[in-house]
């Protein structure tokens, strides 16, 4: 059938949607709809209407069926109440049947219906899985990819493969069996032992073991990102129900010991027991506490303060590491590698090719070296002019330019240091060099259109990468350390703070070059056929983002075979990272998401043709992905930010979010969440977002926590803290005391025209925002940071002590929060400790807080940017019922949060943002938080 007009399509669209069109018409309609948004929308509507009609017509029948099933269920329950013996016998019978079933099922399973669960394990089939259950404790895998999750209660579970047997008591791991290749076992959590006639080896979370039938199993590429979870253990100071008696709302203010004069302020303090005064807490959180105490105001140590101060501490730890350790290590490593590569003897075969590859590798290293040390010597045989040109272009922040020697273009504008990297020259150099080694690839794939370089150049660049990968383990640095160790430490620390690498590096190249039990492939690499094989081998090790649709497995694992490199795939010495939140937000916009229906939504951008796209994501998108996030979901809906429908080319907002939600589920558990510092922080925030509403009962919660304003405020806190995480900048210099600041301090005092608290309480009154799970999650994360960095031997004694102290403070916070929840009175000493807590935390960081602004996303066209920011703190007022029964108003600072969608040209800088905050009226808060 020829192509159809819109009218023809619309005439047939209902029948098409109902599946009543013939094949030819259907094909023609499909073709038309793919390219016509109008008809696609009509089709979507028709499908909806037909679906509804169908549901509606079948409702009576469905209800009847449901009633029958409910009857059956009730009958069964009723029957089961009586005879225990009967029931036990039945269980035994079921067991017998089950065992029988397994025997019967001892045949190869159909990959189409892959999963099976037995008492000791869940077995899930991935690509091409063929396996059989030997019995309830053992399976045999013939081929393909199989996931096994072993539960601890039922003893060891065995997985037999052609090359050996994997045994585990409590673990989650993936087994891959491919004909003609070693068997791979990748451990996601727990411990797995792999053994055969030749040997046995144990692997932990994040490790991969490989083995062939007649070779001892060996540990292979380890994903450092997965390692960290091993050092995480959940912190729990107490458990128990909330036991705080409620008070009556609205509050009879005569019953409150101290009543702020809020005649001009928000009335929610009376009606909800909680109120927020915007930007009323001065300039600085800790300063606010001083102000409150001077006035004799009872102090609420807010969760916001704790989060913020710990955030500052961790960010400063990173900066210190960068400046004093990483920059130095990177410089030594680069020099060492450059010397080693220059020394390497080139083979006689394909001498010219190897020579070219070697000088490219040297150039790659020399540029990095020069960025770190402007005086560094240039190795012989390297084009000095080219190196100079590149270094100058990077230092000048040159826009898109063809990089000499590499044959492709790169935008060096992004190599300009920002945030805390502008602080001093060491950090600036470190930033540029890390950008170079993180972004500039030695490409793996090439070709004509759609590739960055030709196939020949890709071959040459891969040979250069192989030379570097080969040199790394053989290099000893000037200070006697091995280059591998230093590289590993750089990689690990970066992993730890920012997530796992997005592109392959020396580890992956080395793994592909030296397959277990076989000779090195390096020499053959110059041959066309070996080069192809090497590329295939390497592709297995290429890290994939968490959200790649090819596999449900987390990032960094060995992937299925048969993947092809993309135009950007290639070697990076220290690749840039996958930031989980960035990847997720990137999926929740056009073109992944279909057209919108609400032009007023924050996320909507109206294009010149009138169509609405989800141009930018928003902070709430991320919050809505966290487990049990009820409120952000609702706020997104209210704001119209969910009103995007799917079509043949894109997903609806909900469908896209569902896809992502798989990766944010609660069952992932704290260990998986805390696989790096970035994710760990999101995990801490998830406790704020799920909030007390997710408790089975609201009884015993402090009354103010049930207030709607409070719920929204906590979401606000989570977003502000996320903004700080994203900005990853700590601003060390306290702002000079300008006139504006004094004026703000005055405003702060005036708004707090409080009646002084009764004298007898003025010493004793301090309260901690009772969110123990947040403090515990935070402590779990900071303990892991301390353990991991100690293990890497990068902490100075000073930092070790600081982290120890932080741990003590968080223990105090956790315990006191539980005490409050159990409605036990806090002693005067404990209250004193609480009052000093913010100051103590600040002393640890030695840094003052400042508002930050960060660009977190841009739309597909690059015309718009999404900026997230924090501003001057707000002041929260909380009416608390003390265990004595007395009602007291507490005050404490809270983080403020802003979100802006701006044309790129108007994107705000830090300086502009600080100015805006001092203007009247200041910038607007997100509509949902007003």
């Amino acid at each position: 059938m020829n192509s159809l007009t819109c009218q023809q399509v619309l005439d047939e669209i209902e029948l098409f949607a109902a599946g009543e069109c013939d094949a030819a018409t259907s094909a023609a309609i499909e073709l038309h709809v793919a390219g016509c948004p109008g008809c696609a929308a009509a089709l979507e509507q028709s499908r909806q209407v037909i679906g509804w009609v169908s549901l509606s017509v079948r409702e009576p029948q469905a209800l009847k069926r449901l009633q029958k099933r409910a009857h059956a269920e009730a009958r069964q329950r009723h029957g089961s109440r009586g005879l225990f013996v009967v029931r036990a016998a039945a269980v035994a019978a079921v067991l017998l049947v089950t065992v029988g079933l397994y025997t019967w099922m001892a045949q190869f399973r159909d990959p189409e219906r892959p999963d099976v669960t037995v008492a000791a394990a869940h077995v899930g089939a991935g690509q091409g899985a063929v396996y059989r259950l030997e019995n309830a404790q053992e399976i045999r895998i013939e081929s393909g990819e199989v996931l096994v999750r072993v539960t601890p209660e039922h003893g060891p579970f065995k997985v037999h493969t052609p090359a050996g047997t994997a045994t585990a008591r409590q673990a989650e791991f993936v087994v891959e069996v491919t004909a003609g290749a070693p068997v791979a076992v990748r451990v996601l959590s727990g411990k797995v032992t792999l053994g055969n006639d030749v040997g046995e080896i144990e692997a932990l979370r994040g490790e991969t073991i490989m083995t062939s039938p007649k070779a001892a199993p060996a540990r292979q590429v380890e994903d450092p990102a997965l390692r960290f979870g091993r050092n995480y253990s959940k912190v729990r100071h107490d458990v128990g129900g909330y036991k705080i008696p409620p008070y009556q709302l609205p509050i009879d203010l005569s019953e409150v010991a101290n009543v702020p004069d809020l005649s001009k302020g928000p009335g929610t303090l009376r009606t909800q027991g909680f109120a927020v005064l915007a930007n009323a807490a001065g300039d600085d959180l800790v300063g606010c506490y001083h102000g409150l105490q001077e006035q004799g105001m009872p102090v609420m140590v807010t969760c916001d303060s704790v989060l913020h101060l710990v955030r500052l501490l961790l960010a400063q730890l990173l900066t210190d590491l960068e400046q004093h350790r990483l920059a130095f290590d990177l410089a030594r490593l680069t020099t060492g590698l450059r010397v080693k590569v220059a020394e390497q003897q080139m083979p006689e075969q394909h001498a010219a090719e190897w020579q070219a590859a070697s000088s490219l590798a040297l150039m790659y290293l020399a540029v990095g070296e020069r960025l770190l040390h402007p005086e560094a010597e240039l190795p012989t045989g390297v084009d000095a002019t080219a190196v100079d040109t590149i270094v100058r272009a990077i230092e000048a922040g040159q826009k898109l330019m063809e990089v000499p020697g590499f044959g492709y273009a790169e935008d060096f504008k992004d190599y300009q240091p920002i945030g805390h990297y502008t602080g001093n020259e060491t950090l600036q150099r470190y930033y540029r060099a890390m950008m170079w080694f993180g972004r500039m690839p030695l490409l793996l794939g090439g070709g004509g259109q759609g590739w960055r370089v030709s196939e020949v150049r890709a071959h040459q660049q891969t040979m250069a990468a192989a030379l570097i990968a080969q040199a790394l383990p053989a290099t000893t640095l000037a200070d006697g350390r091995s280059a591998s160790t230093v590289w590993q430490r750089l990689e690990t620390i970066t992993n730890f703070f920012a997530g796992s690498a997005a592109e392959p590096g020396p580890l992956q190249y080395a793994a592909a070059l030296e397959p277990p039990g076989k000779a090195s492939r390096l020499l053959g690499l110059a041959d066309a056929s070996d080069w192809e094989r090497f590329r295939d081998e390497l592709m297995q090790f290429v890290p994939r983002p968490l959200f790649a649709n090819v596999s449900p497995f987390p990032t960094g694992l060995v992937g299925p075979r048969g993947l092809r490199p993309g135009p950007n795939t290639g070697f990076r010495l220290l690749s840039q990272r996958f930031a989980l939140d960035a990847v997720a937000l990137g999926k929740l916009v056009y073109p992944n998401i279909g057209p919108g229906t609400n032009a007023k939504a924050f996320t909507a951008i109206v294009r010149s043709d009138g169509s609405i796209i989800r141009g930018v994501p928003r902070g709430l998108d991320l919050m809505a992905l966290l487990p049990f996030a009820g409120l952000p979901n609702k706020l997104m809906y209210d704001g119209g930010d969910t009103a995007y429908v799917g079509n043949s080319a894109a997903l609806s907002y909900y469908a896209a979010r569902e896809d992502l939600q798989v990766h944010f589920q609660p069952w992932r558990g704290p260990v998986e969440w805390n696989r790096d510092h970035h994710m760990g922080w999101l995990y801490v925030l998830s406790h704020l977002v799920k909030g007390p509403l997710m408790r089975p009962s609201l009884a015993g919660l402090p009354t103010f926590m049930k207030s709607p304003t409070y719920q929204v405020t906590k979401l606000n806190t989570a977003l502000a803290s996320w903004t700080q995480l994203r900005s990853d900048t700590v601003l060390y210099t306290r702002k000079a005391d300008s006139g504006a600041e004094t004026a703000r301090m005055l405003k702060f005092k005036n708004e707090l025209a409080l009646q002084p608290a009764p004298k007898r309480n003025s010493e004793a009154l301090a309260y901690l925002e009772p969110l123990p799970d947040v403090y515990e999650a935070l402590q779990g994360l900071t303990r892991m940071v301390a353990k991991e960095l100690t293990g890497l031997d990068v902490l100075t004694p000073d930092w070790r002590q600081r982290l120890d102290e932080l741990d003590q403070h968080l223990t105090t916070a956790g315990k006191l929060a539980w005490k409050e929840i159990h409605n036990d009175p806090l002693s005067a000493d404990e209250q004193g400790t609480l009052r000093r807590l913010p100051e103590r935390l600040q002393l640890l960081t030695g840094a003052a807080s400042m508002p930050v602004i960060v660009t977190v996303a841009e739309d597909a066209t690059g015309d718009w940017v999404l900026q997230e920011a924090t501003g001057r703190p707000d002041l929260g007022l909380f009416v608390v019922r003390l265990p004595s029964g007395q009602l007291v108003t507490f005050a404490g600072p809270m983080l403020s949060y802003y979100e802006m969608k701006l044309p790129r040209a108007q994107a705000l800088t830090q300086e502009r943002w600080l100015k805006m905050l001092d203007e009247t009226p200041g910038p607007a808060r997100p509509e949902w938080s007003r």
Binding site: S54, E59, L66, G126, G630, L631, G646, Y654, V662, L698
Partner: protein
């Protein structure tokens, strides 16, 4: 805001009316007559608030469950349909949702707010299904004690759909009986146009054009309402 809704909900549940938890969803008056006949909860049950019905369900009162099902079947379907877009699948998941809820009620795991909880379960089921679709290597654990994902937002989403389904209800009610019979054959009995034509002794073209026209009318009706 959630807590506001909760407060409102608490009041509305106290008032013993037939409104659902958020106090904004009103069950459409023109219920399908045969559905009423099949599910004949006593008059007093229809007057009870959710919380009381939940308590009755805990004592294995099937009629109370029937009333809850009649109250929430359609909103839950609407909610699921929006996420899944396939009527068959929606029906299956709705059944599972209600059964899971019923089992939990029998176990005495009654929620504070039935509707939020129910939508939470539906949301979970949905998530489970999505995961299963992708080879489903990681089975979801049992839903948490209160499976409250999406809570109020789920209801909000459902309400929008609910409005449209109500409009559709009126649309269906105003169709001639022959057309209704046609829809019955198509959707309830799952016949194709050819089979329907054979059954009714009509030309296939007539059946198809009637069907197409009916859907168009309903779509126009909904378009106008939204």
């Amino acid at each position: 805001m959630i807590a506001e809704c909760r407060a409102e909900r608490a009041v509305s549940e106290k008032n013993c009316n037939r409104r659902s938890a958020r106090g904004t969803y009103q069950r459409p008056e023109p219920r399908t007559p045969d559905a009423m006949k099949l599910f004949t909860p006593s008059a007093s049950l229809t007057q009870l608030p959710d919380a009381d019905l939940v308590a009755l369900c805990g004592r294995a009162d099937k009629a109370a469950f029937a009333e809850l099902a009649a109250r929430y079947y359609r909103p839950v379907c609407a909610f699921l349909f929006k996420k899944l877009g396939q009527a068959d699948l929606v029906e299956d998941l709705a059944q599972e949702t209600f059964l899971e809820a019923f089992k939990a009620l029998l176990d005495g795991r009654g929620p504070v707010y039935f509707s939020s909880w129910l939508f939470g379960i539906a949301h979970h089921r949905c998530g489970k299904w999505f995961r299963r679709k992708k080879v489903g290597l990681f089975p979801a654990d049992e839903p948490p004690e209160i499976a409250a994902v999406g809570l109020v937002s789920a209801q909000e989403e459902a309400e929008e759909q609910q409005k449209q389904m109500t409009a559709l209800e009126y649309g269906l009610a105003s169709l001639p009986s022959k057309t209704r019979q046609l829809l019955h054959l198509k959707h309830q009995e799952g016949l194709t146009c050819e089979q329907i034509a054979a059954r009714l002794g009509q030309p296939v073209g007539t059946v198809k054009s009637t069907l197409s026209r009916t859907y168009k009318t309903l779509r126009a009706r909904l378009g106008g309402d939204s």
